[in-house]
Amino acid sequence: MNKQATLEEAIAQIRDGASIMVGGFGSPGTPFCLIEELIRQGQTGLTLIKNDANEQSIGISRLIENGQVKKLISTHIGLNKKVVGMMNDGSLEVAFFPQGILAEKIRTTGAGSFGFLTDIGLHSEITDPKDVIVWQGREVKIEPALYADVALIHAHTADHFGNLTYQATAMNFCPLMAMAADTVIAETSNVVTPGAIQPEAVHTPSAFVTSVVAVDTDRPEYGLMEGRYER
């Protein structure tokens, strides 16, 4: 039940061609250390699922720039000119979903369901008419659940069993991805003994987590980015 693992052995669970959900909305919640190890180990042909592409030269942008990524499933990559360029020149396949629909598609897998019925973007170009059904007298779109082999997430605190808490906006997609993926690897700089996290304070229960990796968050990516705060 002790799920502590080294960075190396945790990331070694990932195969070439794997689909990987990566937590984070911008930097908060992005597991930078797990990503660096994935770059070091060099798995290729990956499909990444993340809200955004991080910014140029950090986070999953480094995986993409490094040629390890075949496809990106995302909601918005506007802050990353490099990845937009790779999308436009065809060197990276990209699929977009509305942000809350991406979140819900992930959670739907996490809840053991196969899809959900929505009216978001029903009459827009994002909807393929073959996904539209008339049901109880109403046109609705079936959104399939989105699955991944692996989830990589950043937690504020983790106990040995894999109970996780998140800080502020670093929560975002992390709890959903933890529910959805088969193998869930959580990095944290605060590993605590079971019982140190109050049961009511747990954001992700241990049953969803495969490996807990203790990391140093000294890397600059975990710190403040210049120009994003008031002087």
């Binding site: 995302s74 909601t75 506007g78 937009v84 929505t118 997609f173 994003r228």
Partner: protein, 214 residues
């Protein structure tokens, strides 16, 4: 200059006690213009209800940003939640107002603000759900693009964010309301005449009985 004009006018739209979402860009800047005696809950789709003004270097927490990527403060009574809950709140129509930018808006209230085919398509983000499911959509944009072309159209040409969703449009030139009768010109910027605004606008503007100024 015109940005400040838009923001000052837009701030008057926010009611005490409202829950609002401010889109990236111009709308986010609205925080600094809100009346001090108004108690407002600002929703940020990355998982906060109750953001405050931007944080300074001392206050900034690297794990606390708004949806535009700026470090922000939070107000007492704020809550953090995951992205599924954040958009549940949006799709369940718990927000009173969303303030958004626009590439194009038309006189039926259709909105295009996420994609310019062949030129700009960085993704949908949260715009589609916000536009489709928030009770009141307030659009802030310049009246014309950099070539002087009206952004307020008879009919949008770009892929829509949502159909018939817009309530009010505030530009540097005018305040306009989408009504069942069409797009009503309510106010014009100081120094402009209604005729000048109508001339600069592609959409058919219906002058209100009394046209104010701002």
């Amino acid at each position: 200059m015109s940005v400040e004009k838009i923001l000052k006018r837009a701030a008057r739209e926010i009611q005490d006690g409202q829950t609002i979402n401010l889109g990236i860009g111009l709308p986010t800047m609205l925080v600094e213009y809100l009346p001090l005696d108004h108690d407002v809950m600002i929703h940020s789709e990355n998982g906060v209800l109750g953001t405050g003004r931007k944080a300074n270097e001392k206050e900034a927490n690297p794990y606390l940003i708004d949806a535009g990527g700026s470090y922000v403060t939070t107000r007492p009574g704020a809550a953090f939640f995951d992205s599924a809950v954040s958009f549940a709140m949006i799709r369940r129509s718990k927000l009173d107002m969303s303030v958004m930018g626009a590439f194009e808006v038309d006189q039926e209230g259709n909105l295009a603000n996420w994609k310019i085919p062949g030129k700009f398509s960085p993704g949908i983000g949260g715009a589609m759900e916000l536009a489709q499911k928030t009770g009141t959509i307030l659009i802030l944009c310049t009246h014309t693009d950099k070539y002087g072309k009206s952004k307020i159209l008879k009919k949008c040409t770009l892929p829509l964010t949502a159909e018939k969703c817009v309530s009010r449009i505030i530009t540097d030139m005018a305040v306009m309301d989408v009504t069942p009768e069409g797009l009503v010109l309510r106010e014009v910027a100081e120094g402009l005449t209604p005729e000048e605004v109508i001339k600069a606008t592609d959409a058919e503007l219906i002058p209100a009985d009394t046209i104010g100024s701002f």
